[in-house]
């Protein structure tokens, strides 16, 4: 039990510490693909350090909710990172929340961010909150449907059981999971404010969603939010890996399996990050009212995956 708790802590801390590195890697790949000279991979850490040292500037009209939200969002993302099996599978925290609750954690963080964005009462803040909720009300059910497909295959909504079924049982190809994987990719780009739904590098008022919400934040609050954003990207990547490429995640917590798991995870994250940067480099951002169509497609694909499960796999 105590070994399990240690492993749990180690995995969560590793996720928290590695998350900015993944962000740096994606930014680096993107810069290369765009023909720019890339910032060092550790750039996100430097940014965080700089932000933590600065004095926070807060609007006169801010309420305590505004200052509370960054901590809340960071805590939610840390919990999510602790729940998703990145290194080892059966961790002590996992019975606390299944995939539906995981969707709930992301929703909780998002609602707090949207509320904090509306707190100052600027035009951009409310605009960002409205757009974020628009994107999420379609993305969230689509994500849930992706999880449902995996749950129907494994007869469980517990992440460890799903990973166990998909990784360690006999090798079966599930066509439904192919649809689910495409839907998951589309949802994760939307949820992580990436191209084609949002552009993390923009501050152009007509297009920004996520950036509009955090315009008023500075210093340590901004640092926590940026860190939480990196952690969210990391958690989503780990989720995608756990659902669709689970091979390598350690079933038991012994040293050999764990070191293999770390190597496998790093490799998969590197490839995944490079792929994300590649997709971002070759596609353009959608107009805002195209985003519901994009996410509607993701939703339909996920539902289609579920139907295919019933038609072909039962």
């Amino acid at each position: 039990m105590s070994a399990g708790i240690l492993l749990q802590l180690a995995q969560t801390l590793l996720a928290i510490l590695l998350a900015p590195l993944l962000m740096g890697w994606v930014n680096q790949c993107r810069a290369w693909l765009q023909g720019r000279s890339a910032p060092p991979i550790t750039q996100p850490y430097r940014t965080l350090k700089k932000l933590f040292h600065k004095d926070a500037v807060i609007a006169h009209t801010a309420t305590p909710l505004f200052r509370f939200a960054p901590y809340m969002i960071f805590a939610c993302m840390a919990l999510a990172a602790g729940l998703v099996p990145t290194l080892a599978n059966d961790l002590p925290l996992s019975p606390a929340a299944d995939v539906i609750a995981l969707v709930g954690i992301f929703a909780l963080a998002r609602v707090f961010l949207a509320l904090a964005a509306m707190d100052i009462g600027t035009a951009f803040g409310t605009l960002g909150a409205r757009r974020e909720m628009l994107v999420s009300f379609l993305a969230e059910p689509a994500l849930l449907m992706v999880f449902f497909t995996a749950s129907l295959i494994s007869h469980s909504t517990e992440l460890p059981v799903i990973v166990e079924t998909l990784a360690h049982k006999e090798f079966v190809i599930y066509p439904s999971l192919a649809f689910a994987a495409v839907a998951f990719w589309m949802v994760s780009t939307a949820e992580n404010a990436r191209i084609p739904v949002d552009n993390p590098a923009t501050h152009l008022e007509l297009t920004m969603i996520h950036e509009a919400m955090i315009l008023e934040y500075s210093a340590r609050h901004l640092a926590l939010i940026e860190w939480a954003v990196a952690l969210k990207l990391f958690t989503y990547s780990a989720l995608g890996i756990a659902l669709f490429l689970p091979w390598g995640i350690a079933a038991q917590g012994d040293a050999g399996a764990l070191s293999l798991a770390v190597a496998a995870m790093l490799l998969k994250l590197m490839l995944g990050g490079a792929f994300l940067a590649f997709i971002e480099a070759i596609s353009a951002k959608l107009r805002l009212f195209r985003a519901p169509e994009y996410l509607g497609t993701a939703f339909l694909l996920a539902v289609l995956g579920m139907l295919i499960h019933f038609l072909l796999e039962v």
Partner: protein
């Protein structure tokens, strides 16, 4: 003395009836107290709250006890009131008592500024309303049930029209009364079918009546229509967004939080207890209606700009979720999957209880806002968190809970329901088992939209800058109001953190209706329906981890770095001239939803000319069903009564001829 006490305590139905009498007495006493406004102000509502607490206690105690009955020698000769308290009644009594306690404590403060005359009338109807709802839950014959049902409907009608000088409120009240009675007629007919020709209207006879599937279906459809009209199922929902906002806020809270649940109670009572035949398609029908209602309600909630109307539409959504759970329960039950029926029934009851708490909390929260600002239109509110922090933070709990966010209570019931959807592949009917998980997508969509609605509601009303200078004088709610809200908010938190216990309490009800129990495979911390391998959820651990990380991060940031803060003007991309009117209005925040779901709406907008010096904007997204379904009916009714009016000349000769013709007709045909 001790003997009478033990006698009483062993018989919860007596206690419950005692509270009914107490509330009635309190209501009529308040009429007499008009001369003593101080006494009226200070005494009546707190005593009413005490009665509610008592009912919550009786309900909690009654959950574990076998059914008790009583016969009251009131009513018509040879037609006494039969009362019965079983686990189902006890659960809804617990819901009624617990929610009504918080709301009535709140009401004690909310109505303090009213003049004695109107207050006395209001207190009378308020307590009659409570007594009516309680008697509905206790009734064990159709006669008592219908009398109580009508008392409830009429008392709430008078409460809705408390502010009867406003024409819209009179209109809303009329619509409410009309649909309530159309529903009541359907219920009367349903009971007529249920008694199966015996002429005995006690529920005991109905339980034993032999029914063919045809007549059972007829009774079920009538009951679904009648109770659906009360609960606000689409398409019988039109009265709800009119009537609930018109009432004073504590009454809105009672109507949305509790009265709608009496319809759910009736639906469960008739279909699981009284009808001895159940058919699978009943469940499919209810599931489809519920899902449509849920989606329809939440879409319209997103485009409202009146905060109470927004909450009323959100009640329609929640009723839709509950009825969908009801349909799923029937489907599982008729398919012989008792354990799964137990799971969905648990989700249903849990959600009903949750809704009573968070909707009650949100409605009284809007009451405080209304009291402080005199404004219901969200477009003229904003920034209230700074002036009324108690109301704002407590309402935040309600808003997060209704948005279905963990670790609060709304999440638990939605989680249970979604789990139930994942079990449908086990159903034996082909196609149905495929379609139903897709229906889960609808529930998920409605839940996600509910979060949108709540961000809009909370963000526009409590956050941002005040959209009106007068709001700077908004005052915080008084202590009774805060206590009432605190009770309801505590309910939201505790029901969310201890689901394993709550599911344990629900076991007797579930066993009564489905002969099965939901097995919790987890310990007291963990909720794991059916098996821990399939799904588990431990909100307390969840909460503890989030709180711990939050605290650690806070301490770490403060310790390693610093906590320095500088205040300045908002940044807003460096744009200097911004004012409160540049924030999203309520219409603005709902605009994407309006654009996506415009097919359901009739949008009426008035956009100003760009050169207009005093621009006025107005926009309303109206319910298309009103124009498609209700206006033709209203026109047809008008036409029919006009035709009937031709018979009326006002001349005595003609009326004598009518009577004579009728007499001849009857003599010929009834020989």
């Amino acid at each position: 003395m001790m003997e009478t006490l033990t006698l009483l305590s062993s018989d919860p139905v007596q206690w419950a009836w005692g509270v009914v009498l107490f509330w009635l007495a309190l209501g009529f006493a308040s009429l007499l107290l008009q001369g003593a406004p101080r006494l009226l102000n200070r005494l009546v509502f707190p005593l009413g709250a005490l009665g509610a607490l008592c009912i919550a206690g009786v309900g909690a105690a009654g959950l574990g006890l076998p059914a008790t009955t009583a016969v009251l020698p009131i009513g018509l000769p040879d037609l006494p009131f039969h009362l019965r308290l079983d686990a189902l009644s006890a659960f809804f009594m617990l819901l009624l008592g617990a929610a009504a306690f918080g709301i009535t404590v709140y009401a004690a403060g909310y109505f303090r500024d009213m003049a004695a005359g109107p207050l006395a009338l209001l207190a009378l109807w308020y307590h009659l309303f409570l007594a009516g709802m309680l008697t509905v839950l206790l009734a064990d014959d159709a006669y008592a049930f219908m009398v109580a049902w009508e008392v409830m409907a009429l008392a709430s009608y008078f409460l809705v029209t408390a502010d009867h000088k406003v024409p819209e409120i009179r209109r809303a009240g009329f619509l409410y009364l009309l649909i309530a009675h159309v529903g009541a007629v359907a219920l009367l007919l349903a009971f007529g079918v249920l008694q199966g020709g015996h002429g005995d209207y006690t529920f005991d006879t109905m339980r034993l009546a032999e029914m063919t599937p045809f007549w059972a279906s007829a009774a079920y459809l009538l009951a679904l229509f009648g109770f659906g009209a009360k609960a606000g199922l689409v398409p019988m929902h039109v009265w709800l967004p009119e009537a609930h906002p018109a009432a004073p806020s504590p009454v809105s809270a009672l109507m949305s939080g509790v009265m709608l649940k009496t319809a759910i109670y009736g639906l469960l009572r008739v279909s699981f207890d009284l009808l001895n035949v159940q058919l699978g398609w009943w469940g499919t029908l209810a599931l489809a209606l519920g899902l449509i209602t849920a989606l329809y309600g939440v879409i319209f909630a997103a485009v409202q700009s009146d905060m109470k109307r927004l909450l009323a539409w959100s009640s329609i959504e929640n009723i839709g979720v509950i009825v969908a759970a009801f349909g799923l329960t029937l489907i599982f039950y008729t398919d012989g999957k008792g354990a799964l029926a137990a799971l969905t029934l648990t989700a249903l009851l849990y959600h009903a209880l949750n809704h009573a708490f968070f909707k009650g909390l949100l409605f009284v929260g809007t009451g405080s806002v209304l009291h402080a600002t005199g404004e219901r239109n969200m477009g003229r509110l904003g920034g209230l968190m700074r002036f009324m922090p108690w109301t704002a933070w407590l309402t935040l709990i309600g808003a997060l809970a209704i948005a279905g966010l963990p670790p609060l209570n709304g999440f638990v019931s939605e989680w249970l329901l979604l789990q139930a959807f994942l079990f449908t592949p086990g159903l034996s009917q082909p196609y149905l088992n495929m379609v139903i998980p897709v229906a889960a997508a609808t529930v998920a969509l409605a839940a996600a939209l509910a979060a949108y609605v709540m961000v809009k509601f909370y963000g526009v009303v409590f956050l941002g800058q005040p959209r009106h200078p007068a709001l700077n004088q908004a005052h915080e709610a008084g202590w009774p109001e805060r206590l009432g809200m605190l009770w309801l908010a505590a309910g939201c938190v505790l029901l969310g953190l201890f689901p394993a216990q709550v599911v344990g309490w629900l076991t007797p009800v579930v066993r009564l209706l489905t002969n099965q129990t939901l097995v919790n495979d987890g310990n007291w911390l963990t909720l794991a329906p059916v098996s821990a391998e399939r799904a588990s959820y431990a909100p307390l651990i969840f909460f503890a981890v989030v709180a711990a990380v939050l605290l650690l991060t806070y301490l770490w940031v403060r310790r390693i770095y610093h906590g320095r803060v500088r205040r300045s003007d908002p940044w807003d991309c460096g744009y200097p001239e911004q004012d409160a009117r540049m924030q999203d209005s309520a219409e603005g925040f709902g605009q994407p939803i309006r654009q996506i779901f415009e097919v359901f709406m009739k949008v009426e907008r008035e956009t100003p000319d760009p050169f207009d010096r005093k621009p006025r904007y107005s926009g309303a997204s109206l319910d298309k069903l009103w124009f498609i379904l209700y206006e033709p009916i209203a026109r047809a009714t008008g036409w029919l009564s006009e035709q009937a009016g031709r018979l009326q000349h006002g001349r005595i000769q003609w009326y004598l001829i009518y009577s004579f013709a009728t007499l001849i007709f009857l003599l010929v045909f009834t020989r």
